[in-house]
C-alpha cells in the first residue's frame, strides 16, 4: 500500500512516457485533445509521481485521499495516462479511448474508472466541486488536500470566479488550483479572444495566495506546491506558464491543433521528437 507516491526514477522520463501514451491513445481513437493534454504533463507528473498527492491506487476511493479534479476535462487523455501509470487500472485500457463499450470516455465521467473524481468536459465546473470536497472533508474530519487543474480559457467562465470568491470566503486553505496558462483557447490566443490579464491580480484580489512557475519544470512545480498554503485559511493558486502542445514542435506552433488527434504519419514524427527530446532534422 502506497500512502505517498514516492518520486521513483527520473520524472522527466515519466513525463515523456505520458506524452507518448497521450499520442498513442488519441491517434488510435482518431480524435481527442493531445495538445491540451501535453500542456499539463509536468503538472500532473509533479502531483502524482513527485510525492505531492497522497493516494492509494489499490484503494482508489480511500476516504482520506488527496483529491485531484481535472476541471479542463478535455485533457482526459492525460488524466487516463497518469492514472494508468499510477496503477489505478490496466494501461491496455488506454487503447480503447473513445471506443464503444469502453469506460475510457472522451471526457472524464465520475466513477466510471477508478481515480476519476469528477465528470468534466463542460468547462468551468471543477473548482466548485473542489470546494465541496473541502467542506466535506471538514464535516468528515479528514485533512486531505484538494487540487484542481484549470485551463486559462476556462477561466473565462463566470463559475470559476463564483468559486474563487467562495473558496476564499470559506477559508479553504487546503484547496489548490493549478492554472495551465498556455495562452491559447480553442479558437485562438487568449489575449485576442478574451483577455484575462492581469490574471494574478484577479486571483489575488479574490483573496487567494498566488504564485507562478514554469509549468514544464517538474522540480519547480513540486517545490512551489510544498510552500502552500501560505496561510492555513487561504486558498492557493499556482499559475503555471506552459506551452500548448509541449513536446511536439509542429503542434506547439499551431493552435489549430486544438481538439485534433495526429494522423498516423504525423504521429510518427511526433514520436520521433518525443523520443529524442526535440525536433527531428
Amino acid at each position: 500500500m502506497i500512502d505517498t507516491a514516492t518520486a521513483t526514477g527520473d520524472l522527466s522520463e515519466v513525463a515523456r512516457q505520458l506524452r507518448l501514451d497521450i499520442l498513442d491513445s488519441t491517434t488510435k481513437a482518431g480524435s481527442g485533445h493531445p495538445s491540451s493534454s501535453w500542456s499539463a504533463v509536468e503538472i500532473c507528473t509533479a502531483l502524482y509521481f513527485g510525492g505531492v498527492l497522497r493516494y492509494r491506487a489499490d484503494e482508489p476511493w480511500w476516504p482520506a485521499r488527496d483529491r485531484f479534479i481535472m476541471s479542463k476535462g478535455h485533457a482526459a487523455p492525460l488524466l487516463y495516462a497518469v492514472l494508468a501509470r499510477a496503477g489505478y487500472f490496466d494501461r491496455e485500457l488506454l487503447w480503447t479511448l473513445r471506443q464503444i463499450d469502453s469506460p475510457v470516455q472522451g471526457h472524464p465521467i465520475h466513477g466510471l474508472l477508478p481515480g476519476v473524481e469528477a465528470t468534466t468536459g463542460s468547462l468551468g465546473q471543477g473548482l466548485s466541486l473542489g470546494i465541496g470536497h473541502v467542506l466535506g472533508g471538514r464535516l468528515n474530519g479528514l485533512a486531505y488536500r484538494v487540487y484542481v487543474l484549470l485551463g486559462d480559457g476556462e477561466c473565462e467562465a463566470g463559475q470559476i470566479w463564483e468559486a474563487a470568491m467562495a473558496a476564499a470566503h470559506f477559508g479553504a486553505g487546503n484547496l489548490t488550483a493549478i492554472l495551465d496558462y498556455n495562452k491559447f483557447q480553442e479558437t485562438g490566443p487568449i489575449a485576442r479572444e478574451m483577455g484575462l490579464e492581469p490574471l494574478a491580480d484577479k486571483w489575488h484580489s479574490f483573496g487567494w495566495h498566488v504564485d507562478e512557475v514554469d509549468g514544464h519544470d517538474i522540480g519547480a512545480i513540486i517545490a512551489k506546491l510544498r510552500t502552500f498554503p501560505a496561510r492555513p485559511d487561504q486558498p492557493s493558486i499556482l499559475i503555471a506558464h506552459t506551452v500548448k502542445g509541449k513536446g511536439v514542435s509542429f503542434v506547439e506552433t499551431d493552435f489549430t491543433w486544438h481538439g485534433r488527434a495526429l494522423p498516423p504519419a504525423l504521429a510518427e514524427r511526433a514520436r520521433a521528437e518525443l523520443l529524442q527530446g526535440g525536433p527531428v532534422a
Binding site: 463499450d101 469502453s102 480553442e186 479572444e193
Partner: protein, 325 residues
C-alpha cells in the same frame, strides 16, 4: 455508414455544420443587421465563416455562455439580429435562465444555434452531446424550434429563422447528411414536409432521423409496407394538419428522433394524435439513459436509432393497427 443510401440518395458530401456556416454567411451578407456571437467554438459550429468575412459583426465572448446569451439579447434589443452560437449542451445547460428571461420571456428577436445536437457528435461523448434540447427548448414557450434534415433544408431554415421576428432555436449536427430536397421544395415555419408517400404507416422524423427513416421505408417497401415519411422540420409550431392527416390516412404512426423520448418530439406528436385522431403509435428515440463516447455508427446501433429499429417499430405499429381491425 451512409445515411439515405438504401433509399437511393447520393452520398452526403458536407457535414451539416459546414452547411450551417455557409448559410449563416449568406444571411449575414444579405442582411447587415445580422451579427454573430460565438462561445469559442466558431471553428466547430462553423460560425467562423462570418468572422472571416465580417469581423466587425462577429463577437467571441469566450467560454462564458451566460454572458454570451445576455450580450446577444442586448444586441437584439438594439435592433440587431444576433445569431448566438455554441454547442446546444453548453448553451442550454449553462445559460438556460438567461435564455429564458432575456430572450424567451422578453420575446426578443434572437436566433440561437444549438450545434452538435443528438449523439452523433460521437467520440467526444455524453458531456458534450445535446440529447435534451427539444425538451429544454420545449420549456421556453415563445421559441420557434427548427430542426433541418439535409443541406437544402438547413439553408432554407437559417434564412427563415433570420427573417422571422421572434426567438428561434435551430439544431445543427455534425454528420454529413444526404440531399433529400431539391430546388422546388418549399419550407415554412410550422410546415412539415412529406418526403415519401405511403398509406400503410407514417414515420414522422426530424434531423438525421429523416434520412434513416427513408432507409427504413425502403426496407419496408420490400415487404409490401408503404410508409409515408414526414420530415417534421418545425418542432414548434407543429404542423397539426399534416400530422393528423398522416394518422387518418395510415392508421399507424412511428416517430423517430435523435433525442430522449422523455420530453421529446414524439411525445408532442402523440399529444396531437391522441387529441385529434388516436391511432397505434411507436416511438424511436433514446431511452432514459446517457450514451457514451464512440463512433457515431456504433452509437446509432447500440442506442437503437437505426433503419432496422424504425422498420421494426413500423411493423409493430402496423400489426397493432391490424389487430384493432
Amino acid at each position: 455508414m451512409q445515411l439515405g443510401s438504401k433509399a437511393g440518395y447520393a452520398p452526403a458530401t458536407m457535414p451539416l455544420r459546414n452547411v450551417f456556416g455557409e448559410a449563416l454567411l449568406d444571411v449575414a451578407t444579405d442582411n447587415p443587421r445580422v451579427v454573430v456571437l460565438d462561445g469559442d467554438l466558431g471553428n466547430s459550429t462553423m460560425a467562423e465563416t462570418v468572422r472571416k468575412a465580417y469581423p466587425e459583426r462577429f463577437f467571441n465572448l469566450g467560454i462564458a455562455e451566460s454572458n454570451l446569451v445576455g450580450v446577444g439579447a442586448g444586441l437584439a434589443a438594439c435592433g440587431l439580429i444576433p445569431w448566438i452560437t455554441s454547442f446546444s449542451s453548453f448553451l442550454l445547460c449553462n445559460a438556460y435562465d438567461q435564455i429564458r428571461l432575456a430572450i424567451a420571456l422578453s420575446n426578443i428577436n434572437a436566433k440561437v444555434l444549438g450545434s452538435h445536437g443528438g449523439i452523433t457528435l460521437g467520440k467526444d461523448g455524453p458531456t458534450q452531446m445535446g440529447i435534451e434540447d427539444f425538451a429544454l427548448v420545449g420549456g421556453l414557450p415563445t421559441f420557434t424550434m427548427l430542426v433541418p434534415s439535409d443541406p437544402v433544408s438547413m439553408r432554407a431554415l437559417v434564412k427563415l429563422a433570420t427573417d422571422h421576428v421572434g426567438p428561434v432555436w435551430l439544431r445543427s449536427s455534425r454528420l454529413p447528411l444526404p440531399v433529400i430536397y431539391d430546388e422546388e421544395s418549399t419550407f415554412k415555419i410550422g410546415q412539415a414536409n412529406i418526403v415519401r408517400q405511403g398509406d400503410d404507416v407514417a414515420i414522422i422524423a426530424c434531423g438525421i432521423m429523416t434520412a434513416i427513416a427513408l432507409d427504413a421505408a425502403a426496407d419496408l417497401a420490400a415487404e409490401g409496407i408503404e410508409a409515408r415519411v414526414i420530415d417534421l422540420l418545425s418542432l414548434r409550431p407543429l404542423d397539426v394538419d399534416t400530422i393528423v392527416a398522416a394518422a387518418r390516412d395510415t392508421g399507424a404512426v412511428v416517430t423517430a428522433e435523435e433525442h430522449l423520448l422523455t420530453g421529446g418530439m414524439g411525445s408532442n406528436v402523440a399529444r396531437v394524435i391522441a387529441q385529434h385522431h388516436p391511432v397505434p403509435m411507436r416511438f424511436v428515440g433514446l431511452a432514459d439513459t446517457y450514451t457514451e463516447s464512440a463512433d457515431p455508427a456504433d452509437l446509432l446501433v447500440k442506442y437503437h436509432l437505426t433503419a432496422d429499429d424504425i422498420a421494426a417499430a413500423a411493423r409493430d405499429a402496423v400489426a397493432a393497427k391490424r389487430a384493432q381491425g
